[in-house]
């Protein structure tokens, strides 16, 4: 299996990096790898940025860290694990797009602060 890079590795930033640092890292990566030159590379840089650009996306990423697998592999895996019982399209898509909403994060943050 090939080595899968995390968004932090793709953008060359520390997990402790601030929003501004991540944005700068993203811009400089884009500057050196414009969409015209290598579309796939550009897309992976952009996806990495979207995954960790702010607190909400970083929490979401940390909670649901799936090594950045391709969508195809994810589907296959979802299929393998649920082969016995049939699964509805809605369930499948929910499974693949698990995320958290703002209120959950706000609650989580306020709770950690109190502790």
């Amino acid at each position: 299996m090939n080595i899968i890079k995390t968004p932090y590795q793709i953008l060359d930033v520390q997990p402790s990096a601030t929003d501004a640092e991540i944005k700068q890292a993203y811009l400089s990566k884009v500057k050196n790898n414009p969409p015209d030159r290598d579309q796939l590379l550009f897309q992976s840089i952009h996806d990495a940025y979207i995954a960790i650009k702010d607190l909400k996306s970083r929490i979401s990423y940390d909670l649901f860290t799936v090594p950045s697998m391709s969508f195809d592999e994810l589907v296959d895996q979802a299929l393998k694990t649920t082969q016995q019982n049939t699964i509805s399209a809605r369930q499948l898509n929910t499974l693949l797009q698990l995320s958290i909403d703002d209120s959950t994060i706000q609650n989580a943050i306020s709770r950690t602060k109190k502790q």
């Binding site: 500057k31 952009h46 299929l79 049939t86």
Partner: protein, 585 residues
Amino acid sequence: MNDIIIGIDLGTSNSEVSVVEQGKVTVIADGDKKILPSYVGLDDSGNIIVGELAKNQYLLYPERTIKSIKRLMGKNTQVNLADQQYSPQEISAIILKHLKQIAEKYLEQTVNKAVITVPAYFSDAQRQATREAGEIAGLEVVRMINEPTAAVLTYDANQQQKKQVLIYDLGGGTFDVSVVNIESGVIEVLSSHGDNHLGGDDFDQKIISYLLDHLQSTYAVDVRQHSKAMARINHAAEKAKLILSDQPYVQIDEEYLLEHEGAAVHLSIELSRALYEEMIEDYLNLTMDAVDTAMKGAKLTVADIDEIILVGGSTRTPCIRQRLLNEFGFEPHGEVDADLCVTMGAAIQAAIINGQQVDKVLVDVTPYTYGTSAIGLLRGESYPFTYEPIIHKNSVLPSRKTEAFVTNQDGQEFVDITIYQGEDPDALNNVKIAEFRVEGLSDAKAGNVITLTLELDLNGILQVSAEERITGLRKSITINNALSNFESGSVKVATQRISALFGKLDASLYEQDKTQESNNIHPEIEAAQALITKAENLFATISSEDKEDMQVLIEALKTCIDVEDITGLEKPLSELNDIIYYLES
């Protein structure tokens, strides 16, 4: 060395061509004119004419002159030009071919590649049609970029400070608004919105209706029946609009417009700016609504915008500045040339693609949401055409997204997939852009997983593929049918048709050059060069035998040109002419 790539702004009212040379952008002038009116016509002897000449003859011969063809791009329709039917792509190709020739004359070499700008809000079909127009004109469209984005490319992107800019682009026929973040040499489009059928032409129409109503009530005459009188009224309305940009009043006089029941009909009326602004207020409200949508899409508020750039001739209307000032609290930026910045941006993008310029990078978005329909819930009830968005509005390009769907019946043999463009939760209220069927599915229970992948490339053109997961059965399509359903059948046929028209144009150019004779170049040499260009343009479509014959003759011509051997040109020139004549007939 890389091929030269030119940058073209193919506008509703005006078009321009530019190129980057030694890091500098030049808008290429034809004679002393940088702006080519987007008019195409046939003159008295059946020669094709483009630009100023065609615009002038529009008043006299509206039936053999075409304007504002861009408004029809992407529609399955034909226009009539002197009793011949042409697709919008073909008419646009004539303008493109003319621009290509202007560039070739200036650069003294053949040009086969171009970056062409399109309104950001142009749909997939309109983009496809634009690319086809390029092909018909003999230009490989290496990239289509959005007009407001092109305008920002003329901007210095490497300033110290981060800047958030709103681009308000109101042209002859289309309106776009984009919000852009400029930072560290990267131009990032945050959102785009617009209207494909809103522009200066609509403002003209308002004035025209006003004039027609006036004539109707004064003379009880319906001028719409008289094409020449209508052409004059069109022209008068456009002129009045331009004057009202500077003056509070305009006097519109057109004498002897036509004869009605034996008496001459004269048009004489005053129009105030205030009344004109009232006429176009609804349109301006629409543009301001689009500005709001774009701001929301970018998740910004008015306080976040550092600068406003105005693009397009119609932004000269003073009340537009006023409306933006009221909304944002400061005046739009004045440095950017509203008419030329789009073509210049196209040339800069061309240079970036060619590796000539590397100090800025463009990241653009799609203004549309693309998705499919499925059985689902709409307003709480089961509905077979629930919209399932896949690529969302303002996603960064290129974009590739996959979603999983399942069959709903046991042993389902096929699925019909329809692709829509739009935002409405009811798919049927969106624009259907493609449908296809995946057949031969395996005999499986309901719940057979089909994945659907949508890929939007840097030109904003969509590719769709579907796959049955358990078997890997695949079907993919490019939404590419804009031209397939028009009469002449294919790009190749259209290319030959338009080239044939230009055979005549080449001759007229040659005549012009002969009479001018301002420089020392022999007209024979220019004619030879023009013919070489023409011959080389044919290379792609002819047999290798013909090509070899032509290459021998071209070599002979080039040798004569180098030593200015005028008499030596004669024989190869006429032979080459014969071959071209034979190939084109």
